[in-house]
Amino acid sequence: MDMQVAKKKLGLKEKYQVMTRDLNWTPTYQKMEDIYPYVHYEGIKIHDWDRWEDPFRLTMDAYWKYQAEKEKKLYAIIDAYAQNNGHLNVTDARYINTVKLFLTGVSPLEYMAHRGFAHVGRAFPGPGPRVACLMQSLDEMRHFQTQVHAISNYNKYYNGFHDFRQWHDRVWYLSVPKSFFDDAITAGPFEFMVAIGFSFEYVLTNLLFVPFVSGAAYNGDMGTMAYGFSAQSDEARHMTLGLEVIKFILEQDPDNLPIVQRWIDKWTWRGYRVLTLVAMMMDYMLPKRTMSWKEAWEIYFEENGGALFRDLSRYGIRMPKCAETIRFEKDHLSHQAWCTFYNYTAATAFHTWIPTEDEMQWLSAKYPDSFDKYYRPRWEFWREQAAKGNRFYNTTLPMLCQTCQIPMLFTEPGDPTKICYRETDYKGMKYHFCSDHCKEIFEHEPEKYVQAWLPVHQIYQGNCFPEGTDPSAEGFDPLKAVLQWYNVVHGRDNLDFDGSEDQRNFAAWRAQATRNV
């Protein structure tokens, strides 16, 4: 007689064991160092990969189920938003430039994060971190896709959305986020994890996502809010992974500490430099503001980050060195950044504008020590000139920092009237930097950064014109040629918001939706 044996169901703990750790094996006919060639050269010493703790104990089957649920909800909201012409409910059309900045500046990094985590997951000999990296790699792909899908709705109506992929590789200000991530994925697996997993995802992520998502909420952009929240639901796992990486590396060997500390110093600074874009978005681009950049920095970095680094001090880790410099910059960063984009908006794929009188009052109140004294005079002068039909367009290319690739717009720590210049010589050539931190990063690995693709220098070398362009021809207009090469349409995608096609269309469509015209 056949006995019906009930199939034994695996407990959570066993399931985790079977579906993660047990997937690992020890090779017999290949050498470990041939299979994992990248784990030693950075100098990090790992003695026991089994000591890796996975706080989530998530297995792939459960992962798919959770993520599918999130996707279903997200796409329902995005579809409803699109079908109801949700874009006409945003506060005003200037807001849409925030979405352009996100799509062109942030979304491509999600894709790079996907690649990066796939790569380091493959590089680690331990099954624990490997599975965690696999999941994060898939998360990042999802973030990228959902952002592109959600934002594609805006592309039907507004300019500056049509070629974000190419812009990531070509446009001058997008070389800042691009070079940041390229630097990380060309580093070794441990540095990548400290750079992106810890410094970016753990220390700085709230300064990137919270401003964009709450900015979207305050300004009536349900689409952005929906993908923002959906991405953030993965964030707890990412942050835990970032923190676990640091603890694991530090517990493995005391020699790892100085290496990790240097990476934290480097990547907090590099990440912060990329956040320059967020600072100006918060203080200048959101028609309805959430909080100032300075306030956000104080809450998310000085308070929360401060607590984190106090906690990590038991491993010997201290606050990143750059925290002091940043304290000086927090009163100035957003103003200097938006002034820069106002200068160079003939070469941007979004619009800029002069803050309204109300907005200037808000800026004075939020920045009592800096706005009226240093920045208001600029805006008032530019406003006067614009009213006379003499809007300021700076068309001479700026000097860039060799490391962060940002124009040299930052001022000396403690003196907002002086540009901060730093330089060094390497193999007979001069290199210039925006700060001590960018200089130090270069000096540690000059061979890496001497290859930096600096947009300004590339334009002057003639590498940024459409094929067949003759720069020596009579009447050659370099700006026009560069915009063509970017696929940015002059007079439509760039220049001041005032008088733009976006402004006109939004006003007309909103009128149709709300009045009998």
Partner: protein, 119 residues
């Protein structure tokens, strides 16, 4: 090795002088006038005189600022890599010792930007 890499790693820098079609890069900054958000990068022939730089290259670049027309060039203080420096106006950039990717700045005493804000 000046980079963390698994094997020998050395490449030509991207910005060697010979890549600039006979020009060399010169960076110029105007102190106390941060309405121009950053110093400028210029690709210039090394045979250009310093006078031509000041009298032909700079005016269209800085002329938008009301202070520019008021500059007393005889009183201007020059700096090269941050150190006080004296240009020879009728000598070439080369003779003035300006190499590829050098940075010079000028200070215009008495002129400190829009409403004295260094803008």
């Amino acid at each position: 090795m000046a980079v963390a890499a698994i094997r020998e790693y050395s490449f030509t820098p991207l910005d060697l002088e010979e890549k600039f079609h006979g020009n060399r890069l010169l960076y110029v900054g105007w102190e106390d006038h941060l309405m121009f958000c950053a110093p400028f990068a210029f690709p210039l022939p090394s045979s250009m005189t310093f006078r031509d730089l000041v009298e032909k290259v700079l005016p269209p670049v800085y002329g938008y600022h009301p202070d520019f027309a008021r500059i007393d060039w005889a009183a201007v203080q020059w700096f090269k890599s941050g150190q006080p420096w004296q240009p020879q106006w009728d000598e070439s950039l080369e003779k003035n010792g300006l190499r590829h990717k050098d940075v010079i700045r000028f200070r215009t005493p008495g002129l400190t930007g829009l409403q004295g804000s260094c803008s």
